[in-house]
Amino acid sequence: MSAFKNRPKLFVWMAILLLGMAAGAAGVIHVLIVGHAQSYNVTREIPWGLLIATYVFLVVSSTGLCLISSLGHVFGMKQFEFIGKRAILLAILTLLCGFGAIGMEINHPIRMGIYTILSPNFSSAIWWMGTLYGVYLMFLCAEFYFLMKGMHKGAFTMGVLGFTAAVSAHSNLGAVFGLLEARPFWHGSFLPIYFIVSALVSGCALIGMIVYFNHKKSGAPMPLKYADFMDTLGRLQILTLMTLVFFVVWKIIPGIYGHPPEKYEATMSMISGPFAFNFWFFEVLMGLVIPLCILFPKKTRTPTGVMFAGLSSTIGIFFMRYDLVIIGQLVSMREGTAELVNGLLQYTPSLSELGITIGAICTCLFLYTVAERLLPLDPEEH
């Protein structure tokens, strides 16, 4: 327990994470005992629930971290180089925990391992997404290895490959939804592109928090160099957020203009229906407005401000993922399938689903916190 000596905050932080992991473990055990059908609130009409949203959230985070960190060691923006190790480490952890979440969602992860190799279907976006994320994970690991070893050339090569894999895997994740003609809210070329843009927001937000807390833990005031970085990051975040605003607006307008069938009902559920609170409060206010209000004025674009902006937009982005996944399924494929409320299907996550989601996120943070203390993640001083 010596690690916690005189560090009550760390103790509280780890205790919270362990509690969250316990909730996740409880959820997993419940699923293993009573089965998926009894544990999850997903239905035949809404087969994808909170766990898919969690998966999407975590892999978007991973992609974002990879893309933003590549600004440093791939695109040579010096200011970004120092965050490389931490960003890639967290990218690996978020990806693994994302895999964990989806592994709990699908019924036969072992069969998946076997038959995606023995019986691949090249027309399946899930197959491509899964395969590309697998490749991406390998590149990330190699990149992290080279970074840790200080092998810049290898890290650069792997960074380029990782960047490429991240972009392809992630746009394929968008395609998993975007290729479904049956779901007008998702269908089209919008989602693959949108996913990349929103990943950049995630990446900026998470890196802002990493840098802030990394320095916070040392107790020393942040060196000017890092404070400058935070300012740059804040400005980059403004750019990505503004782009995202643009995307959100252009997602909504075609969704309501001329009342396109099914798309309209889904979009309206977000604007004024059951998902309105999620949308206006979490997605718009926390995800976009608050971060922009903090980041725009020079006065508040301090390291602390950038951290808070990042935290706020990360929470907002989680709800963006959740809303995207669920709203796409809210419109029934036919009349009279189930009890409709105001013409829409309904879904509320079960305790197991909530537990596993909390568990996945806490595990990720826990592993990162531990790694932060065990691994030399600070950049070598040149």
Partner: protein, 735 residues
Amino acid sequence: MANPKKQKMSRRKFLGISSCALTTAVVGSQVKVLKALAKSGDISEPVAAITKDVYTSCGMCVNKCGVIARVRDGVIHKLDPNPNFFPKSRGMLCARGNAGTKVVYDPDRLKYPLIRVGERGEGKWRRASWEEALDMVTNNMNQIAEKYNRASMMFASTEGTFSEHFFLQLAECYGTPNTLRHPTLCLSSNIQGFSATFGTNPTPDVKNADYIIMSGANRAEALMTPDSIDMIKTDGGGRRKLVYLDPRFTKTAAKADEWYPIKPGTDMAFILALINVIITEGLYDDDFIEENTVGFEQLAQHIKQYSPGWAATECDIPAKDIRRIAHEFANAAPSAVYYQGRRSSFFQNDTQMRRAMAILNAIVGAWDTKGGLLPNKKIALTKHDYLAPWYDDVPDRLDKGGVTYLSEKDGSWPVFRDRALAADPYPIKGMMVYKQNVLVSVPDRAKSLELMKQMDFICTIDITMSDTAWYSDVVLPEATYLERLDPPENLSGPVPVVAFRQPCVEAMFESKTNFWIMQQLAKRLGPEIAETFDFTMEEHIHHMLKKKPEIYDALFGKGVYYEDTEPEYGRLKGKRLRTRSGKIELYSEKYAKKGLDPLPVYKSPDKVPTNMYRLLVGRHAYFTHGTTANNALLHDLMPENTLWLAPSEARKLRLKNGQMVKVKSKVGEEKLKLEITEKIRPDSVYMAHGFGVLSKGLSNIAGVGGSDAALIESKYCPISGNCAMHETFVQITPA
């Protein structure tokens, strides 16, 4: 590759287990149920046997459709329609028929004889041996005979098991006249009204009728073959019209050409107005009336008062529509039918209303002709004769004289119950019940509970813990219809058939056939009674078929026997009908002599009091009366019942869709969910039958929904003794 599907069969999901889930809570296949039961020690593991197809008859309702049971490894895997059953079920099997497997493999089944140990209705039982349970039953029967009178035992029986006559035989041999059957909860007024007119209760030729008017008989949901099939327009044939009257928009209404939400209880006004138009405008069949009927003059005189304008205000159907329908009906005649159908009776005037229907059909000549009413035929089977012992001092039926025409065997439930409660003229102290669910089927449940309370002894034979069984002292488990060899039965109709049942699998648990139970009771009641049951079922079947042994081969060979495939029209032409005059009696001399209206006289139904609603009953295609709501497959289709209420009324009462409401009548109060729907008249409410059960032995529906029997007041038709199901008013309040 031979065939990609074959593989699938062999590895069919007998014991599928999700590789991730360690246990599965949903019990699906029959085999799973069996395994679960085997684990609990109730039965031994199913033994592998060959796959076979077994012909039998459905027992899910009273319709008796033809069935082929597909038996795989000693387990009934699927029930399929028997395509040979042509004249009646014509190769169909409804949802209930298909759910029959779940009757056999039902975890809620009665498995062995039970003897009550707690208070009645408390649900405390102990397992007993057949020996002990049967002894207890006969000891009690003998005690009641000694202490009171043999007539103090009542026997209540179901219909449709093909073996209820053994139960009635035991009643007769034991020496009580008090047997009660379903007709007064069902169609006795219908039979009475049509028989008074035609000397028989004919069957409408739905298949060939060009014009059909149906009132209240919801044939698309209250399935009766072949009418439910024939009701649907078929390709090819002439354009037919279905006019449908019902206070509810049922599925029959959805299929009808015209639907009128008639004011409940005014059907007779509508019919009389049709007769009025047909007579005053000379649309009737002169020659037919002349040749075949009596009393047309009196009718013509009597009907003058019932104009369409008058009827319009009575039944909420515009006069011009009544006039038009009368014209269309008469034009289509004789291929036109005012469909009397098989359904429960709704008002106290039901017999006279049925008379009006019969008269309308008669004056357009829709009798014994293609597309009209057809007299039934039957295939005569040899009866089992027995000599019942003679007992002195056994009085008449308890309900004798309670109504004008009382069926000696069937009695009248409401009349009987009232007299039994008053011990007038003698007490009823013992109750034998064969599968009739008295507490669910007879209106005014509180009274039925009173009746059961006053019994010294109650024994119920059933397959599940019905409410009635729940309040009994001894419960005997019967083998289900798929486990019994049942005697052949003539299903009469324009094209009669003989149906039967044979065991598809061995009777599960300790369940026994009703025949066996009756034999055992008879044995204990003494040699004289035992003798009347001294034969095997095989012998009984051969005896019944001795005049036509070819029936035997037909039954076992293709599941059914019939001689014709098409009705024989004009069969009774020139022959004497079984009425007093030998003709169709438009004016009933018989009724006049009894002091009844010889011609139907209309009386308006009671007005719905303010702030109250008329409670309507009605069928749907998923449940049979009070018996199948607990069936796992059917329960998926309708897990609870709701109270239908019109949106305008819901607004007035400030009630929301889906909220719980309290429904209160003079005799009871129930709670159930509200369903706001345009499908019902604003002055009425409706709830499906079969929920709100008292028994906790029906695990799917215990504590769910509301019971209509608890609310309906026991009013009845004074001519037939038939219950009037729609004469109850209720108040609706938020629960």
